[in-house]
Symmetry: C2
């Protein structure tokens, strides 16, 4: 048995990794219009491309949308979806209506991430038993991009209210491509301390100890969970 | 219009974020058996839990599998899937057969991540137009965990060859839960400089400039892509 390598991230480097994970936010309201320099954009796209992918499939494509008239069409579509999808009532309806879609226009850049489900890169490795793994790879790429952006003080907002068929029309995306996400990207006036949905009273953070199981599903040992999580779960 | 916040990550912190993204690996072969201390495990699980999730749904659960007899059953199942799923021929078949599944046993910990597709946290926000977003949230949590683990010098291997129904049986996971991933986790003797699949000759890194589009799908401006990507794409 070989021996364990020496830790190769310094305490400061480790702290930076945890900090970016903790301080990443889904940005809706705080974008400013300043353009993202090419060098910064290159770094965050490269971060996305360095995500894990099943069989090294790299199933993603990135459409960078700066054109304002296209973004106005996307925004109008999002607004109509929001009006149509009003399934909430009372206080929650008021909250829902207050959620902003203006990031599409206020941020200088939108990014649409697609997954090519028939891409042959990777030779299908790891996709026979679970055909969704290519989509998970694309989601991992988005998370990498999101974290890199946060380290660059760039906010990302994930718009999940769109009808992908309409987005495909507006961006001329081939029908057979699968849209995974539509993001707004831009510098911000500030990052909020807590998720906007939490501050707005939409939802609260679940305790992780409720989500831990040991060896088998039925074993939810709270004492064991507390020993692992310590003060993280407060 | 408010003004842009000052960059709040130092150059060193930013470099650490990019380093962890670049040096993360899918580990198959280099695990050592040393237990992961509770404090470290608590940190990487908390990192997973701080992932973005649609509507703050937090749809995940984590099953931590240390029990060796359960892992032996998972490993035997994986091996039978590998034997059965032998769809490759010639050199590629030899390569496929050489890919290791021993991490399930050699790493001290396996982690199964599930998605509760009917969890009411988040009140369905962002799930009406794309019902897959909860699964993407779970994939983002896995990527957070993976990066945090790398910063702790812990390797993660994603086993994507399993039949989830069989895994549910072995771990007593309720039928209606959706398994997103089965991971091996443990300290390693070393992290490889390149993905094992690349070194083994399975697949190569795609150039990102081939995957960039501007405003609409058909606009693949190579000069523009090169200006953004600079030396990242070499």
């Amino acid at each position: 048995m070989s021996s364990r390598m020496k830790p190769d991230f310094s305490p400061e480097e480790r702290a930076a990794v945890y900090r970016v994970i903790r301080e990443r936010r889904d940005v809706r309201s705080d974008f400013i219009s300043e353009e993202i320099p090419d060098a910064v954009l290159g770094r965050i796209l490269t971060a996305a491309h360095h995500a894990p992918s099943v069989g090294l499939m790299q199933p993603w494509d990135f459409i960078l949308i700066r054109n304002f008239s296209i973004r106005k069409q996307i925004h109008a579509h999002a607004q109509s979806m929001k009006d149509r999808g009003d399934i909430y009532e009372g206080d929650r309806k008021a909250l829902y209506c207050s959620l902003k879609l203006e990031g599409i226009l206020e941020a200088p850049l939108n990014i649409c991430i697609t997954c090519d489900r028939s891409r042959t890169t990777g030779y299908g490795l790891g996709r026979q038993s679970d055909s969704m793994t290519d989509l998970y790879s694309a989601a991992c790429a988005i998370q990498n991009l999101w974290l890199a952006a946060r380290a660059e003080s760039i906010g990302i907002g994930w718009v999940s209210i769109l009808d992908w068929d309409r987005v495909k029309q507006l961006l001329n995306i081939p029908r057979e491509r699968h849209i995974v996400a539509y993001l707004c990207a831009g510098f911000v006036s500030a990052f909020r301390r807590k998720p906007e949905l939490e501050t707005a009273g939409w939802e609260v953070r679940t305790k992780i100890s409720n989500l831990l199981h040991f060896d088998q599903w039925e074993n939810q040992d709270r004492q064991r969970a507390d020993a692992i999580l310590g003060t993280h779960d407060e």
